[in-house]
């Protein structure tokens, strides 16, 4: 009898664990903090492998730098976007409370670059609003800002003024017809196109923070897109984004199972994408609902 897709997915994830508990982007590859954090989140959501989770959390803590950031590699402290993922991965783990607190402090002390917009600006959004960036000394973009919002929210910092500003940033960068992309709206007067993965992530971050009216065009865009999505990152985020607003399709679990099965066709998904799918299977809400009992 064929093993159910979710069981196969869990086994696949478990097989990627390194000897010290961390995870790489694929089986047999070196430790990566983003992959490790996502693996922890998926295992947590599935209530699986408690010991492995703890070991993985300790690996993340060992990768943390003195100022609290968790970077993509020790040689690249400037690429600190995995810090938000680490905050989420450490959530609810007493042994990692201090590491999480330092990471939160780092997030609150850093932002994307902001600058005064010229009167005749080529780009359409407000460049003075601050969110979060992928790496130091670069601008604020949609996905790192969304992840930072969710991380800070779930760790008890939902009332911080930084999140209020990030909220304004998102409403400013919502594409006129609905949806978000990486973080631009218009360039040289042309309205850009939304992307399902970015839209899902932002909607997941904004769930419960703004009125439905303000994001209705984006919800409509995502509802129209989700049935066509076959790839894990977009599908996972689309389902979480819709779930955050109570609009998760009834066929969500079947869609996830079909997406897992597609690995036979393409190749095995990277750890973050695999874990996102497994986590998305476990909830009907947004990402932060995974920590809400």
């Amino acid at each position: 009898m064929t093993e159910p897709p979710m069981s196969q997915g869990l086994k696949q994830l478990r097989d990627r664990a390194l000897a010290d508990g961390g995870f790489g982007i694929q089986k047999g590859t070196n430790f990566r903090p983003d992959a490790t954090a996502w693996a922890i989140m998926a295992l947590q959501a599935m209530g699986a492998e408690a010991e492995l989770r703890e070991a993985a959390r300790q690996c993340l803590a060992a990768a943390q730098l003195r100022d609290g950031r968790v970077s993509i590699s020790p040689d690249h402290p400037e690429a600190f976007w995995p810090t938000s993922l680490a905050v989420l991965a450490w959530q609810g783990a007493p042994a990692c409370r201090e590491a999480q607190a330092r990471a939160i402090a780092f997030l609150l002390s850093t932002s994307g670059l902001s600058f005064k917009q010229e009167a005749e600006s080529i780009i359409g959004h407000n460049t003075e609003l601050k969110g979060w960036s992928w790496r130091s000394a670069t601008a604020s973009w949609a996905e790192p800002t969304a992840m930072a919002m969710m991380a800070l929210e779930i760790a008890g910092n939902g009332g911080n003024p930084r999140l209020a500003e990030a909220q304004l940033l998102f409403l400013d960068r919502q594409i006129p017809g609905g949806g978000w992309n990486y973080g631009n709206t218009t360039v040289f007067g042309q309205v850009l196109r939304p992307m399902p993965e970015s839209t899902g992530m932002v909607l997941s971050a904004l769930g419960g923070r703004v009125s439905r009216e303000t994001v209705q065009p984006s919800l409509a865009y995502l509802e129209g897109s989700v049935t066509h999505l076959k790839t894990p990152w977009s599908l996972g985020w689309a389902l979480l984004g819709l779930g955050a607003w109570g609009e998760r399709p009834a066929s969500a679990q079947a869609m996830i199972e079909a997406c897992l099965a597609r690995q036979e066709r393409i190749s095995s998904y990277d750890t973050s994408s695999l874990a996102l799918l497994l986590a998305a299977f476990q909830t009907t809400g947004g990402l932060t609902s995974l920590w809400q009992t």
Binding site: G24, I25, T29, N30, R32, D34, I72, S73, D75, H76, A79, W81, S133, W134, R135, A137, T138, A139, W141, E143, P144, N181, Y182, V187, F188, G189, Q190, L192, R193, M195, P196, E197, S198, L229, K230, T231, P232, W233, S234, R265, I266, S267, Y269, D270, S272, S273
Partner: protein, 330 residues
């Protein structure tokens, strides 16, 4: 006996003139030493026999079967975003298939397709929506999402931007031949996006972000040159069957040209493509920066094989509101 002020200034001026002259002579000598072949073949549409066209191109470029046999080949197409039915945004899947089949027919040990789109964190979605997923599945060709790869850092071999070093995907070390396979397009920050600019997609988003804005802030034109100088791809195959004009690289309009352009030197390939597009390559900052030391732009140093530029020249629409496109016209 010391110099008078006048003598000193005269000596300085003379030194400057001598230095400038020496530089220009060196540049001229360097340019004359290039003799790059660039192959242009007509291909009216994507149903043409692109495998044979590419095989012919390799032969005309002096790439022998012995040079390919047993080698590991990485094909790097340009995948950015998708619109259903649009053929002018991304390197067409059938051009990629043609290249795959051409290299395999010449005995390549391994052919892999790899890309790291600059705006999209879900590379597999772009692969699927661009139709390339289907081709790779049918031909059993592996795909690498360069954006998720682990990285290794090397010194910047170009020195034209503010980047002290470049972080490249570790998988590049596994390949003997890297082929840049861009789409022939205008670009609203760089003027044009061709074989050199296409290499931005090698830079992992996990290290550079989405978009790879850091590269723009370090000097986009310099980064284009630096990545080319550091990675040194061995070949370029440009999809100019349907290109993009206007507000490229995503929001422009289709521009049928009906050609593939191939070469072993990326600045020479791009210079030829620029001329086909009705653009003066010397007005493209990255090309002008690369001239001489990385490759030739002068027509006298580029040996055109196959079709002539004049036979296929198709002036692309350039937008005055886009600073990088102003004054590009020949």
């Amino acid at each position: 006996m010391g110099l008078t002020r006048r003598e000193f200034l005269t000596a300085c001026a003379g030194g400057l003139v001598l230095g400038a002259s020496s530089y220009l002579l060196w540049k001229e000598a360097r340019n004359r030493s290039w003799d790059e072949r660039i192959f242009i073949v007509k291909a009216p549409d994507y149903q043409a026999d692109l495998k044979t066209a590419i095989q012919d191109g390799l032969r005309h470029l002096g790439v022998s079967p012995a040079a390919i046999r047993g080698k590991r080949v990485l094909l790097k197409p340009n995948l950015v975003e998708t619109i259903p039915g649009a053929v002018h945004i991304n390197t067409h899947p059938l051009v990629v298939r043609g290249a795959v089949e051409a290299f395999l027919s010449l005995g390549a040990a391994r052919v892999v397709v790899a890309e790291g789109p600059g705006h999209v964190t879900d590379t597999l979605r772009v692969l699927d929506e661009a139709g390339l997923d289907e081709i790779l599945w049918e031909d059993r060709i592996p795909f690498i999402d360069l954006n998720r790869e682990n990285g290794y850092t090397v010194a910047n071999a170009g020195g034209c931007s503010r980047l002290p070093s470049l972080t490249l995907p570790v998988c590049l070390k596994e390949f003997d031949i890297i082929v840049s396979m861009p789409k022939m397009k205008t670009h609203h920050w760089a003027g044009v996006t061709l074989a050199m600019k296409n290499l931005f997609g090698l830079m992992p988003g996990s290290f550079y972000g989405w978009p790879k804005n850091y590269l723009h802030w370090a000097g986009i034109d310099g980064c284009i040159v630096d990545i080319t100088a550091t990675v040194r791809p061995q070949l370029a195959i440009v999809d100019g069957i349907v290109g993009m004009e206007g507000d490229g690289p995503i929001m422009g309009t289709p521009k049928p040209v009906g050609v593939l352009v191939m070469g072993r030197n990326l600045p020479a390939v791009d210079a030829t493509c620029a001329r086909i597009m009705g653009i003066d390559p010397y007005r493209v900052v990255s090309l002008a920066t690369a001239e001489g030391w990385l490759g030739p732009l002068r027509e006298a140093s580029i040996h055109q094989v196959g079709e002539t530029i004049a036979a296929v020249r198709t002036p692309f629409l350039l937008l005055d509101k886009v600073p990088a496109q102003r004054r590009l016209r020949t």
